[in-house]
């Protein structure tokens, strides 16, 4: 299936980037607290592995819960907006405002409400992930082909049947696009949330704050790459879900057999 993608190209480019990194550092004598070498970062990652893995798990937990809550909540909210034009027109501006409100402003407020800890982290991630899911899914629910709607009227389907048998399956690719976007920013949400609402549980964002305070720069970088890896895991899970649901029928997955 992946025959045409040259798997070795990213590796070659990765090596080039690494070489440039090390080369520049040596050539200009850049000191470690400005830009540590890859070897330093790897060593830091190994010595700090327990803290990092623990932090990753803590943040992933918060981010996952927030993401799942946003997926479920966003889906239900879309159903409400898909069912009624009035709800859509009435609610959409506020959902938009929610999205426009910068998280860095929202986050401290949420910490005031809930105190630092998991609930606050979940809520902050939820707020970040909610909008792309709602926006995409609603778009899908209302983009159904006019003739298909007529077909359902002709067979005397009620609104619930139309929703279940037509609009929801039709909106699935849109919902999954929303999930993909949300999945790629869930870790950003979780890490940002850590910065404001992290507690002694020690999420990855909280660890970053500590390393920053003690000027442990290679460790800081190692934490950054750990968060990056968590983000990849997130996106991979969502892509797998996407494939599972759409593999049988959607053009984005299957090429036409004819």
């Amino acid at each position: 299936m992946m025959k045409n993608i040259r798997w070795y190209l990213p590796i070659i480019f990765g090596l080039i980037i690494l070489a440039a990194w090390v080369g520049l550092k040596e050539a200009f004598g850049i000191r470690n607290f400005i830009l540590p070498g890859p070897d330093k970062i790897i060593r830091a990652a190994i010595t700090e592995r327990e803290t990092l893995i623990h932090g990753a798990l803590v943040t992933m937990t918060g981010a996952s819960l927030g993401f799942v809550a946003a997926a479920v909540g966003g889906f239900l909210m879309s159903l409400v907006m898909g069912l009624s034009v009035s709800f859509r027109a009435g609610l959409y501006p506020y959902i938009l405002i929610l999205q426009m409100m910068p998280v860095v402003i929202f986050a401290p407020v949420i910490v005031i409400w809930l105190g630092p800890g998991l609930p606050a982290i979940v809520l902050i991630t939820f707020l970040i992930c909610f909008f792309p899911i709602v926006a995409n899914t609603t778009q899908g629910l209302i983009s159904v082909d006019r003739n298909m709607v007529d077909l359902f009227r002709m067979i005397n389907a009620n609104r619930l049947q139309e929703m279940r048998k037509l609009r929801i399956p039709f909106a699935m690719p849109y919902f999954l696009t929303g999930l993909r976007i949300a999945g790629s920013i869930a870790m950003i949400g979780g890490t940002t949330a850590d910065l404001f609402a992290g507690d002694s549980a020690g999420g990855i964002g909280y660890i970053v704050l500590v390393y920053n305070g003690t000027l442990q720069v290679p460790e800081l970088w190692a934490a950054g790459f750990t968060a990056c890896l968590c983000g990849f895991i997130f996106v991979t899970v969502v892509l797998a879900l996407n494939w599972l649901i759409l593999r049988k029928w959607h053009d984005s997955i299957v090429k036409s057999d004819l």
């Binding site: 082909d145 003739n147 298909m148 007529d150 077909l151 009227r153 002709m154 067979i155 005397n156 389907a157 009620n158 049947q161 048998k165 037509l166 399956p169 699935m172 049988k248 029928w249 959607h250 053009d251 299957v254 036409s256 057999d257 004819l258």
Partner: protein, 260 residues
């Protein structure tokens, strides 16, 4: 054939007009009576409201004024009697052939076994016995339209409304679909309203051709088609058929506005 009393019309249209909102009048003063078993083709220039007339009969759109009775009822109460076949096959891409065909039965109180039995019968009837579990993307245009027809027939409609169903198909496929539609009709005995742009198609299929003029749509001519069923390739190739289609084309040219 001698019948003791004139047949009761299945569809009765009198003084019917249609306009969308306060917009232009689409159909004006349409009068038409169609008896059971008739196959009526509606033909005319674009904008003559032939598709709109189908939508009125299907109750997908309300009548503005005049009378329209389907099997003696207002169209919105007669939806059980009608089935609609759209220009595009309008299949649900996430459903297989079988699942698509069964869709109209799923909203009826019917057991799974009964649904499958009806579905299998209709699938065979349209010649799709070999692809029950294919998805629409795996089918050609003609096959998709067959699924669409099978789906419409599951509810055993008294009236089949077809809105240019074969317009997107190549000529060979279209001719074959025409022959098969007649074969299905001789078995299931539905009454049909068929919108088309093709004079030959209308002449081959119909018992009657209604030519509409445009702006607003009116009945210009109502012509019985003289050829007996079953109709075959020979019908299509006969000189009588050629003469008939030439005459219909001439009428059609008269109602197509200059410069269109």
């Amino acid at each position: 054939m001698v019948s003791p009393s004139p047949p009761v019309p299945l569809v009765r249209i009198s003084g019917l007009s249609k306009r969308y909102g306060r917009g232009t009048v689409i159909l004006e003063d349409i009068n038409l009576e169609v008896t059971p078993g008739e196959f009526v083709s509606l033909i005319g220039p674009s904008g003559c409201g032939k598709s709109t007339l189908l939508k009125l009969i299907a109750s997908l759109s309300p009548v503005s004024s005049g009378t329209l009775l389907v099997d003696g009822m207002a169209p919105e109460h007669a939806r059980q009697e009608t089935a609609f076949i759209f220009q595009e096959a309008t299949l649900l891409p996430w459903r297989t052939v079988n699942q698509n065909i069964q869709l109209p039965l799923e909203v009826l109180p019917m057991t799974q076994a009964k649904r499958e039995a009806v579905c299998n019968r209709m699938r065979k009837l349209v010649g799709l016995d070999h692809v029950p579990d294919h998805y629409p993307r795996q089918l050609s245009g003609g096959m998709k339209m067959r699924v669409s027809i099978a789906r419409a027939l599951t509810v055993a409609p008294k009236i089949l409304l077809l809105d240019e169903p074969f317009g997107a198909l190549d000529e060979m496929t279209r001719d074959r679909m025409n022959e098969e539609l007649l074969a299905v009709r001789s078995e299931l005995k539905f009454t049909a309203f068929f919108v088309t742009h093709s004079v030959a198609e209308a002449a081959f299929l119909s018992t009657r051709i209604v030519i509409l003029s445009a702006n607003p749509g009116r009945v210009y001519r109502d012509v019985p088609v003289p050829f007996p069923y079953p109709r075959t390739v020979e019908t299509r190739e006969s000189p009588e058929f050629q003469r008939f289609t030439t005459e219909i084309s001439r009428s059609l040219r008269a109602v197509i506005p200059v410069g269109a």
